[in-house]
Symmetry: C2
Subunit: 92 residues, 2 copies
């Protein structure tokens, strides 16, 4: 899947990412969006999807939710550490 | 589904909930466990499931992941507010 329909969730306010999702959905013919997050941002990713479907696009479908683990190397730690990930695939 | 195979995720360390899941899985014949969380604990719920399957039970299956919204009334707020939820159903 190309990255152009992917919204990566970070530490900005929820509505910033809701707007990003709306922009993706309205700009593409296939009307799919993939919401991705890692670590503490996973909760925000769920907030984004819930706000999107409760307030903005009631007929949006959650096609798939998958979780996983990424290995990241940080200069603060000795060796790599693990971080959880989530991917939520939406379409309408 | 009865509550006896449900693990509610809160603010304790991840391994506490991993142990709770292991206890449920080993004590029941159907070997199912439902991991539930709300708000900021959603990230911890994903951590719990990832640690469980990467370190403890490699053959565990994620049968379903669903997200939703609960309305909660808090004495700190005027009127109800919304909180996101996650439910992760596991079996082996």
């Amino acid at each position: 899947m190309s990255r152009s329909n992917t919204v990566f969730i970070g530490r900005k306010p929820v509505l910033n990412y809701v707007l990003a999702c709306l922009t993706v959905i309205k700009s593409r013919q296939d009307e799919e969006v993939l919401v991705k997050a890692r670590g503490r941002s996973i909760s925000t990713a769920v907030d984004v999807v819930e706000v999107l479907r409760n307030r903005f696009i009631p007929d949006i479908r959650i096609d798939d939710i998958s979780i996983g683990t990424d290995e990241i190397s940080s200069p603060d730690h000795r060796g790599p550490s693990n971080v959880s990930t989530i991917e939520i695939k939406l379409s309408r």
